[in-house]
Symmetry: C2
Subunit: 206 residues, 2 copies
DNA sequence: CCGCTCCTGTACCGCCGGTACGGTTCTCCG
DNA sequence: CGGAGAACCGTACCGGCGGTACAGGAGCGG
């Protein structure tokens, strides 16, 4: 029981690193079992096929992702009662966290699954969609609360603003990888942060 | 001579669609030759291996991408002499173009290659990097020109702003695919457009 | 000691990327 | 019109990989 879970976790750890580095297709099962020190039979005992591995990988990744956002933004809300300040602080904390990753962000599994969508079944696509919707809900709620206290200089939809957070994160990851500049991602997040601050900045002559 | 180029183009057309839909790894050569109506030998006459196909695919994609940006922003600059207005107009035109794609944006090959980076050789990674740098240069130039005429409300680096264009495009593509909402990408671009307008909007009491 | 979880070992299949190579057809140029 | 490439076709083959099948064994809790 305990032993099985531990092996499964080890497989997922190895697989996640490999998939983020090389893509799902380029990650072979043989390679995974070699690194985890189990046999092929052992692998297929835990995962029916590669698709189920992808599913488990994705679910675990999203879960962890949510946990990180929970931590960061709850900490930000502890430090400031103002919803705008808390959000801006959260973005800053997130940017700093991303800056501290030595080799840059390892990549987002949601994005990897997206760029290879038809290679996976609809279940995985649906998990992916739900993840994006959760992000929208999370940040959308924050923007709605901000809008209760601040009047935006431009009329923008809270959900679209929320999607902008995901967009900047996903796009920043892609750009960082393409440019081989780990700093781009946290930088882009800070640029977005400036935009948000600007958007809700009270008019000069109120 | 002419014939060869045409076949090669047909292979690339089929391959591009398949790669964007399923990912590079999930796209088999057998499948490509079946759809193009040639044989395996014929395929390997045109491309030494799959990696060279990827390279040709990527180069053609980037070339086409650049051409589209050239057209849109040169048209925008014809319609307005003001660099800010021209840029904002360009974003609008781009957003409209993206809106008109019936099934949404098919995906960016640069991003797909990024999420599977180690599966390809360094040459491809370098092409990818150069593409991102070209985007930076293109939009960076525009922002620098804008900054000659407008004073931004917040001090932001022109290159980082330029990267933001790429970020929003790449991130928007990912989000659109994840959410299965084609409209998200053009919407995100318009949100960014609003930010840019806000950034360079003259102060109320100048 | 039974039974269950958690594997190992072996053998095998079909698909796929890639190689090798001989032959064929088409195309353009002289 | 004829020859020389260019642009393929056909066939056979290889190794790696995803996946299946199935038999068996170690360890562990009840």
């Amino acid at each position: 029981m305990r032993k099985g879970e531990e092996t499964r976790t080890r497989i997922l750890d190895v697989a996640e690193a490999a998939v983020l580095a090389k893509g799902f297709g380029a990650t072979s099962i043989d390679e995974l079992i070699a690194e985890t020190g189990i046999t092929k039979s052992g692998f297929f005992y835990h995962f029916r096929d590669k698709n189920e591995l992808a599913k488990a990988l994705l679910e675990r990744y999203i879960e962890n992702d949510e946990r990180i956002y929970d931590e960061i933004f709850s900490r930000a809300h502890e430090l400031s009662d103002d919803p705008l300040q808390a959000f801006l602080l959260g973005l800053k904390l997130l940017s700093e966290l991303l800056s501290d990753l030595p080799n840059g962000h390892p990549g987002c599994l949601v994005a990897t699954m997206c760029t290879q969508e038809r290679a996976f079944d609809r279940e995985i696509q649906e998990i992916n969609r739900q993840a994006a919707l959760m992000w929208r809900q999370r940040f959308g709620g924050m923007f709605r609360e901000i809008m209760c206290h601040y009047r935006p200089r431009e009329a923008l939809d809270a959900d679209q603003l929320a999607d902008m957070v995901s967009t900047v994160l996903e796009g920043g990851i892609v750009l960082s990888k393409a440019l081989k500049e780990p700093k781009s991602l946290p930088d882009q997040l800070l640029v977005f942060r400036t935009f948000v601050r600007l958007l809700f900045q009270p008019m000069a002559q109120a």
